[in-house]
Each structure stands twice: as structure tokens, then as C-alpha cells.
């Protein structure tokens, strides 16, 4: 992987209605040295938590308790320039062409390596470092994902 400069831990909002997946993801984020600022299972909760916590990154599932509302959540959360939104879904076909403001998508079922690699990529981009997506087969960058990560 070569030498990488250290990046500060990310403050992450998890938007996932499947409790087991959310819980395991929280443990993984903790292992990776990041901080989970909240877990939301519905679009309302997600948008409210976004407003109150201003996370660095939001990991957003498409299907939530109140339906396929993850797309609207991504639009709302990405309106805050401080927040980088990444979809995390088994239903990538529902993502609109403009990715609703998200920078990319992690396909479910994901491996921990892809989650780790994606967050490392996002952290390095946000820190202004050069970053590579090599080997991250389970992550797909949106058409304007790179531009969004380099404002």
C-alpha cells in the first residue's frame, strides 16, 4: 500500500435500519479508529442527527424503516459541505445518476477491508493527500465523486 500520512479519525453517522449490521459496523469503525456519532434507522432520525452532529462522513443505506428514503437522506446530508456521504447498499440500482450528492457506493455484502479502504480514501482526500482506489473492487466512485471530495 506504500507510505501514507496519518489522517485524523473521522466522525461518522451510520444510517442503517438493520440493527445487527449497524452494530457490527460501529464495532468495525471503532476498530479502525473512527468515531460513530450516531446510528439512524429512519430518514427523519438521519436528517435530525445530521443537523445536530455535522458528521465528517455519513454511511447511508437506501432502504430504511420508512422505505427507500436513503436517497433523500443523502441529498439532505450532502447539502452540508462538511459532510461526505457514501451509500452502503445491496440495492445500488436505486441510486440516481447524480448519486444524490453522495461520492460513491459500497456494495453490500461488503468486506471489512472495503469499508476500511473506502474510509481511508475519503479521509486522505478530505485531508488533501493523494489517494488511490486501487484494489477497492467493492467501492464505486460517483461520476462527480472525485470533484466532491476535492472542493
Amino acid at each position: 500500500m506504500g507510505h501514507v500520512m496519518p489522517t485524523p479519525p473521522l466522525r461518522i453517522l451510520v444510517v442503517e435500519d438493520e440493527v445487527l449490521i449497524a452494530l457490527e459496523l460501529e464495532c468495525l469503525l471503532d476498530d479502525l479508529g473512527h468515531v460513530t456519532v450516531g446510528v439512524a434507522g429512519s430518514s427523519q432520525e438521519a436528517i435530525a442527527l445530521g443537523l445536530s452532529t455535522h458528521p465528517d462522513v455519513a454511511l447511508v443505506d437506501i432502504h430504511l424503516v420508512d422505505g427507500p428514503t436513503g436517497v433523500a437522506v443523502a441529498r439532505a446530508l450532502s447539502a452540508d459541505p462538511r459532510t461526505t456521504v457514501v451509500f452502503m447498499t445491496a440495492n445500488a440500482k436505486r441510486i440516481p445518476d447524480d448519486f444524490a450528492g453522495a461520492v460513491g457506493v459500497i456494495a453490500k455484502p461488503y468486506s471489512e477491508r472495503v469499508v476500511a479502504g473506502t474510509l481511508r480514501y475519503v479521509a486522505e482526500c478530505r485531508a488533501g493527500h493523494a489517494a488511490s482506489l486501487d484494489g477497492l473492487d467493492g467501492f464505486r466512485l460517483a461520476a462527480d465523486g472525485w470533484d466532491r471530495l476535492h472542493p
Binding site: 438493520e18 445487527l20 449490521i21 452494530l23 457490527e24 459496523l25 464495532c27 468495525l28 432502504h63 445491496a90 440495492n91 445500488a92 440500482k93 456494495a107 453490500k108 455484502p109 461488503y110 468486506s111 471489512e112 477491508r113 486501487d134 484494489g135 473492487d137 467493492g138
Partner: protein
């Protein structure tokens, strides 16, 4: 009749012969007089009487308009009138009526008959009953319209059914992926809450196997082709995971996997097999910080997949008792399921596993793929 009126006809044919021939002709014919503008019928043959159902006495001196009726096309009548007024020949198809009131399609040719000075004196017309042709055309049009309607109905039905099935497939695919993620999360959560030791290792091992199957599912259903699976794409992804967790200074993994497209039925067993063998070699061949290499090759040759996994580690007998026991029997079960053969051997140092699996019909349908020796990017 003058020579000119006879056209190119030999003078030796007597006029009486012509009259006789026309009278007996099965083609209905009629002659009208243009003098005076009333165009009375001055001659008609027997076939014309038969076609129209009138006697000669009923036709003589009358205008051919008597044959027209409600369904006769007025425009065509007007065009016939114009042609006659200009002394031109004309062809038309027109609805006419018989004496009994029944209608028929009359296909007619009209041509002027001129005297020695070239002045039109009469009009000659030959007819043909085109009713059969017309009803055939109408029947054909109706049949065509009906056929088109039925085809478009069936196409719409098929399209709706296809859309339904596609939506169903996406739904099932989504559920399978989500459930695999839940199962994997469940295993990992339990592993995190289990003290270090055999049970935790077993849980993590299971989560990894589920991960291998998940990767197969993701690759099968995202590529759009749900019948084929590229073994190299899988190996690239899976070995990337494996290498990421290794101390690269101590253990190296090299692989040469042909881009072999296998059927969906073979995908999961092959993926599981590759996962077990590679993981076993990496985890158990190099205890006590021993350095070493694992090499993996997969080639397609003679309708079969040949795989070789070799390491220069401690060897099967020297490894700690039965750490790979489950993995090894899993591999043997999978090879049996695929009707292949497996040979384990000690190479001192190390272990060598050779597997040959016959490719099934679907896998063989793939065009012969050239072995690609490009080194995958994760190999260090």
C-alpha cells in the same frame, strides 16, 4: 372498317370474323356511340349481358351510368367522364350493380374508336369482374390488422411479464445480499464478544467463508450475466483481502489465475475451495514467524480447470495438530461435488495441493480464453 381503324391487323381477316370473335369472347365488352353526347350503348357481347344480368333489349340505347349505384365512387366516375371528353384511353375499377341489385367490382379499360378522319365516333370498353380480388384484398387487410393487433397484445403481455420477473429478480437479489450481510455481521458480532481462542477463531473463520460466498454473489449479480463467473476476478478480490491482513515482509502470495469463466453452479464451490486452500496455507504453513511463499495457479486445459496451491512452509504433518482439519475436509467435499480429483503431497519443505475439476457444459461454452500472465496488482 378502314385500314387505319384496324391498326396493325392483317387485311385478310374479315370484319365478320372480328365481330364473331368479339361476340363469343368470354371477356365482357361494350361499345357506345359518342355522337350527340348521350353515349348510348350500341353493342354488347354475351359475356357483358351475363356479367350485368340484363337482356340486350334492356341495354340498347341506354347509358352505362345505369350500372352505377350508391357505392360507386364519384371521383372515379368524374375521371372517366373527363377521359372520354378528351378522347383518352382510361383504366378504372368501379363498383357496378347488376339487374338484380347485387354489386360487383368492375375492372374496365376504355378506349376511343376513331373514323378515317381521326374523329372519335365510339368508345370501346372491356370489363372484368374484380370482386374476388377486392374481397381478397379486404380479407387480407382484415387478417393483417387482426394479426398485428394480436402480436402487439402478446408483445405487451410478454413485456409486462418480463418487467414483473425482472423486478422480482432484483428484489430477491437485494434480499439475499442483505441477508448475507446480516449473517456476516451476526458472526462477527459474536466473535467480538467471545474470548480469544478456538471458538472466536471458528466464528471468524465462518464469517470469512460467508464473505467468500458473498463476493461470489455480488460478482454474479452485478455483472449483469448471472450465468457466468470469472474465477480470476474473484481471486483478485479475495486474495486482495487475504494479503491485506498479512505481514508482507514475512509471507508472500503470488498467483497466476487464468480468466476462466465458469458457470454459476460451479462458482460457489470453486470460490469456497480457493478460499480454504489459500487461507490454510497462509494461516498454518508458517508458524513461529517462519517466512515463506504461497503460490497459486489456475489454468484451463483440456476441458478442465487445473489448480495448484503450493507453499514452502512446515508441511502437513508438522503443522499443529488438526488446525486445518475442517478446511481440508471441506475442500475434499467440494472437489467431490465438482467430480474432480485432489492430491495432497509433502514437498519438504512445504505442501502441494493439486486439483483437477472438469468444466461443465456452460463453462465450456465460453470461447477459448487465452491465459493472461499479467501479474495481479495485489501480488507483492
Amino acid at each position: 372498317m378502314t385500314d387505319m381503324a384496324r391498326g396493325g391487323m392483317p387485311a385478310s381477316i374479315a370484319e365478320s370474323t372480328l365481330v364473331s370473335a368479339f361476340s363469343e369472347s368470354p371477356t365482357p365488352m361494350v361499345l357506345t356511340d359518342v355522337a350527340g353526347g348521350a353515349h348510348p350503348i350500341v353493342w354488347a357481347n354475351a359475356a357483358f349481358l351475363a356479367l350485368t344480368g340484363y337482356d340486350w333489349d334492356e341495354l340498347r340505347g341506354r347509358n352505362c351510368r345505369m350500372l352505377q349505384g350508391p357505392l360507386t365512387d364519384r371521383d372515379t366516375v368524374a375521371r372517366i367522364g373527363a377521359a372520354i371528353a378528351e378522347g383518352r384511353s382510361f383504366e378504372a375499377e368501379l363498383v357496378n350493380y347488376r339487374k338484380d341489385g347485387t354489386s360487383f367490382w368492375n375492372g374496365m379499360t376504355l378506349s376511343p374508336v376513331r373514323d378515317a378522319d381521326g374523329k372519335v365516333t365510339q368508345y370501346y370498353s372491356a370489363q372484368a369482374d374484380m370482386t374476388g380480388k377486392h374481397s381478397l384484398e379486404v380479407a387480407m387487410t382484415l387478417a393483417n390488422n387482426d394479426l398485428e393487433r394480436r402480436v402487439s397484445e402478446q408483445t405487451a403481455d410478454l413485456r409486462a411479464t418480463l418487467e414483473q420477473k425482472t423486478a422480482l429478480l432484483h428484489e430477491v437479489d437485494h434480499r439475499v445480499k442483505n441477508n448475507l450481510q446480516v449473517i456476516s455481521s451476526l458472526m462477527l458480532l459474536k466473535a467480538r464478544r467471545t474470548p480469544e481462542g478456538a471458538v472466536r477463531d471458528a466464528l471468524n473463520g465462518m464469517a470469512e467463508r460467508i464473505g467468500a460466498l458473498s463476493t461470489v454473489h455480488r460478482m454474479l449479480y452485478s455483472a449483469g450475466d448471472v450465468t457466468r463467473f470469472d474465477l480470476r476476478e474473484f481471486a483478485d478480490d479475495f486474495l486482495g483481502d487475504l494479503v491485506a491482513g498479512l505481514d508482507g515482509e514475512r509471507t508472500s502470495v503470488s498467483a497466476q489465475i487464468d480468466p476462466v469463466a465458469v458457470s454459476a453452479a460451479m462458482a460457489a464451490p470453486l470460490a469456497l475451495m480457493l478460499h480454504e486452500l489459500a487461507t490454510n496455507a497462509v494461516r498454518h504453513a508458517f508458524p513461529d514467524n517462519r517466512a515463506g511463499r504461497v503460490s497459486i495457479t489456475a489454468q484451463r486445459r483440456d476441458g478442465a480447470l487445473h489448480m495448484l496451491i503450493a507453499d514452502d512452509g512446515v508441511g502437513l504433518s508438522a503443522a499443529t495438530p488438526n488446525p486445518a482439519g475442517f478446511g481440508r475436509s471441506l475442500v475434499e467435499m467440494v472437489v467431490r461435488q465438482l467430480r474432480g480429483t485432489i492430491a495432497w503431497s509433502e514437498t519438504a519443505p512445504g505442501t502441494r495441493v493439486e486439483i483437477t475439476v472438469p468444466l461443465d457444459a456452460i463453462s465450456l461454452r465460453d470461447a477459448a480464453s487465452e491465459p493472461d500472465v499479467e501479474t495481479p496488482r495485489w501480488a507483492t
